[in-house]
């Protein structure tokens, strides 16, 4: 009965999201003749791929009842580490590995502060956000490091059968983590901790460890992003990923996931990402949206979306 209600609500949620996406598409197709086209669709995906990857990690973190605002900075810092490793050793493999693992390492710091020190996630990651960005500026001296290695660039710009590499990569990640959340011990532990941390502990879940783990996960995914960013920009930007964290959170909340934790599903965040992606792309594409109005439009649409959820009693709490 109750379960049935839940599934029903879940469906409604997805349908609402779908509805919003459709409405947006219609509106923007009217506003711009270039909106509905295969190449533009590819653009939409490519332009939002960073958001999409970050959204995976952020969803896990939020389900566990946390928040990770440092991912944007991790992208930059992990990139630095990766590029330096690449420069030193000259080995691409090591470079890539360094990007990803260092991202994870930064996650460890977050995890320690939050899981073991018990510092509130929001505040802790705001601090580490500054730390990682600062470290990046310090090492790079604020300068761009250009990376013209074919391997990196292939990951960032290359195509397989005229499909950008990132698209299958994204698909793979999403399938993987969809199942991680649905049927892995880690996923289950995340839901448990987000739902009732103490009960989780009494039920033999290593709360601190899993908390640490989820931030490592989110950091690692940010590291993966940095690989892609370096490839796409064929350079390492000290300001790469600036503000990405908030865009990600917005996307997830647009997906109707409760920031309080314990609930949520990767499909929902995916939908949220789609909405953001479409809006951004449309703002680029519609010639008559005055640049001064971009953010006004963006904010208006976000508010509208939340209001609609409220109508269906979906979005909840802080």
């Amino acid at each position: 009965m109750n379960r049935l209600k839940q599934t029903l609500r879940y469906r409604i949620k997805l349908f609402t999201l779908l509805g919003i996406v459709v409405v947006l598409i219609v509106v923007f197709s009217l506003a711009s003749p270039f909106f509905l086209s295969v190449t533009n669709f590819v653009n939409v995906v490519v332009h939002s791929s960073i958001l999409a990857i970050l959204a995976i990690g952020m969803t896990c973190v939020i389900i566990s009842g946390g928040l990770d605002l440092s991912v944007g900075s991790i992208i930059a810092f992990a990139g630095v580490v990766g590029v330096l490793a690449f420069r030193q050793t000259g080995s691409v493999i090591l470079g890539l590995a360094a990007c990803v693992t260092s991202g994870g390492a930064m996650g460890v710091l977050n995890g320690l502060l939050i899981g073991y020190m018990g510092i509130n996630a929001f505040i802790a990651t705001i601090a580490t956000l500054a730390v990682f960005r600062g470290a990046t500026l310090m090492i790079t001296g604020g300068h761009t490091i250009s990376v013209t290695d074919p391997a990196f660039n292939f990951l960032g710009q290359g195509q397989i059968l005229r499909i950008p590499v990132i698209i299958p990569a994204l698909a793979a990640l999403y399938v993987l983590f969809f199942f991680v959340l649905r049927r892995s011990v880690l996923g289950r532990s995340l839901y448990a901790i987000g739902g009732n941390a103490r009960a989780a502990r009494v039920s033999g879940i290593r709360v601190r460890l899993v908390t640490l783990g989820v931030y490592v996960l989110s950091g690692t995914l940010a590291g993966i992003c940095s690989v892609y960013v370096i490839g796409r920009l064929s350079s390492l930007q000290p300001w790469a990923g600036l503000g990405a964290e908030f865009e990600t959170i917005v996307a997830i909340v647009l997906g109707g996931i409760n920031i309080a934790g314990g609930e949520g599903d990767l499909l929902e965040s995916l939908a949220g990402v789609a909405i953001i992606a479409i809006i951004l792309n449309a703002i680029n594409l519609v010639p008559t949206i005055d640049p001064f109005y971009q953010s006004v439009v963006k904010g208006g649409i976000i508010l509208a979306a939340i209001a609609i959820y409220e109508r269906f009693k979906i979005a909840t709490s802080r």
């Binding site: 009965m1 109750n2 379960r3 839940q6 049927r183 892995s184 011990v185 880690l186 289950r188 532990s189 839901y191 448990a192 987000g194 739902g195 009732n196 103490r198 009960a199 989780a200 502990r201 009494v202 039920s203 033999g204 879940i205 290593r206 314990g262 609930e263």
Partner: protein, 500 residues
């Protein structure tokens, strides 16, 4: 102080999607009387209370005070009409100090009702707390006070609100017996002063002790209202359940098997010391004591929730000091926590997920959960403990207290544990459910599981245990073998009134 004489509910009905919680219930609560309200979980007690307290709106019927009809839209209004509720879960704010808590929502103010009149509040608070025989630093955050003190503060809150009808929902659930007695004295005093008290409890003996009349609810209907003198506890139980229960405890005892657990000189600063005992297969060992006497902490230590500072724990002869619940579980120790809501259940998960939570490490291969297996396990447990769910996927938040408790116990039984620790397994559940849990305990013992249990009701020790260890101030002061059981002596030792 009693400005009213009677509150009557007439033909009250209330239904939620799928359930008819109350059907034409009519009861009268008179000042100067303690009116007990009993019934199994889901019988409609709390619904009725919530309607009187203005939390729910009733579907039908009427509420009359001194004969004329009143409307109670929200808690604020209830307060205004002199009705106060003391919920099982206290409604105190840990960060706020005593005075702020006592006057919360009805602060006395000067300067157009914005600025607090601290002096007058302080005066009033002292006076009321004095009446309850509680002398505390009124400026301190309540989080620094003991449960009993907080309980009294709850009552002080009602008095300060000039309540004449005070509703107490399971007021003793967190109290030790001595604290309980203090409470009863206060209740009697309030009765003298002409207050009406609506007393909700599962502990029938308490009702016999304190209540003047008792109303029994079953399935949302009023069975009847009786003078306590006029009915025996037995009939009350029967009337609640609707069928006769001749013997509540059906414990089949046999010779305990080989030794499973041996504890030597276990000690932890501020909790317990010199704790030594043994436990055998198929044996049920009761640890009893008053709140904070260390028996609960010993259980947590055995399960790796607390780390003892000295002493050894031998499991099947091998030393086993557990630093985390997981280790303990892997060694075959399972633990049913005392507080369902806080420690037992993940409210956002469904029954199946909750039931499999403690078995994830063997339900999974390489970190992936075998969902088929999980479903099977859950199914099995649901049948075995006859948990009432429409589907294993039902959210636990929608289950009745008894069934929730069964889920918590079920979590521990997905694999037969070597040692099962039950911390007050029948807390706040109805007679029917209790009885089933007694049977489960008996069956487990029969299967050779070694069981340690703590209970808030002495009869349970007597009815279920093979041995009882009495704790006092962190020490074991007395061991009773089954044949030597005697409620009163056990109690005497707990209270420290018994010699040697």
């Amino acid at each position: 102080m009693a400005n009213h004489t009677e509150l009557r509910v007439e033909q009250i009905s209330k239904s939620f999607p799928g359930v008819r919680a109350l059907q034409e219930v009519s009861i009268g609560f008179r000042s100067g009387r303690v009116h007990a309200l009993v019934g199994e979980n889901g019988a409609g007690k709390s619904t009725l209370v919530k309607i009187i307290a203005g939390v729910y709106r009733r579907d039908g019927g009427s509420i009359l005070i001194d004969g004329q009809e009143v409307e109670i839209h929200d808690p604020r209004m209830a307060n205004a009409t002199g009705i106060s509720v003391i919920h099982q879960e206290f409604s105190l704010f840990p960060e706020l100090n005593v005075i702020q808590n006592l006057f919360i929502g009805m602060e006395s103010t000067h300067a157009m009702g914005a600025v607090l009149d601290k002096r007058s509040m302080e005066r009033r608070a002292r006076e009321v707390l004095g009446r309850l025989g509680l002398s505390v630093a009124a400026g301190r955050p309540v989080k620094y006070f003991s449960v009993a003190e907080q309980q009294l503060m709850e009552i002080a809150k009602c008095l300060i609100r000039d309540a004449w009808l005070i509703i107490m929902d399971e007021p003793t659930s967190a109290l030790s017996d001595s604290e309980k007695n203090t409470l009863f004295n206060i209740i009697r005093a309030m009765k003298e002063q002409g207050l009406a008290i609506l007393y909700i409890s599962h502990h029938l003996e308490e009702i016999a002790e304190i209540a003047d009349e008792v109303s029994i609810l079953r399935d949302g209907r009023l069975v009847g209202t009786y003078d306590v003198g006029a009915v025996s506890l037995a009939n009350i139980t029967n009337l609640m359940v609707g069928k006769d229960i001749e013997l509540v405890f059906n414990r089949t005892r046999k010779e305990p098997g080989r030794r499973v657990l041996e504890v030597k000189d276990l000690a932890r600063e501020g909790s317990f010391r010199d704790i030594s005992f043994t436990l055998h297969r198929g044996e049920v060992l009761g640890l009893c004591g008053l709140l904070g006497f260390g028996h609960a902490e010993v259980c947590e230590a055995l399960f790796g929730l607390l780390s003892p500072e000295e002493g050894t724990i031998l499991l099947d002869g091998r030393t086993a000091g557990f630093t985390s619940p997981l280790e303990a579980m892997k060694a075959g120790i399972m633990y049913v926590p005392e507080d369902r809501k806080r420690e037992g259940l993940i409210q956002t998960m469904n029954a199946e997920e909750n039931l499999s939570l403690m078995s994830l490490h063997w339900l999974s291969k390489l970190g992936w959960i075998d969902l088929k297996n999980q479903a099977a396990v859950a199914r099995a447990l649901i049948d075995r403990l006859s948990i009432k769910v429409t589907t294993p996927k039902q959210g636990v938040d929608s289950l009745s207290g008894g069934n929730q408790q069964k889920v918590v116990i079920g979590k521990c039984l997905s694999r037969t544990p070597r040692l099962l620790i039950l911390n007050d397994p029948t807390r706040g559940i109805d007679v029917g459910a209790k009885e089933e849990i007694y049977r489960i305990i008996d069956r487990l013992a029969g299967e050779g599981v070694a069981i340690i249990m703590i209970s808030s009701e002495l009869p349970e020790y007597v009815g279920l245990c093979d041995r009882v260890l009495v704790f006092r101030h962190g020490r074991i002061i007395k061991e009773f073998a089954h044949e030597a059981f005697d409620q009163n002596r056990i109690l005497a030792y707990m209270l420290g009134t018994a010699e040697g």
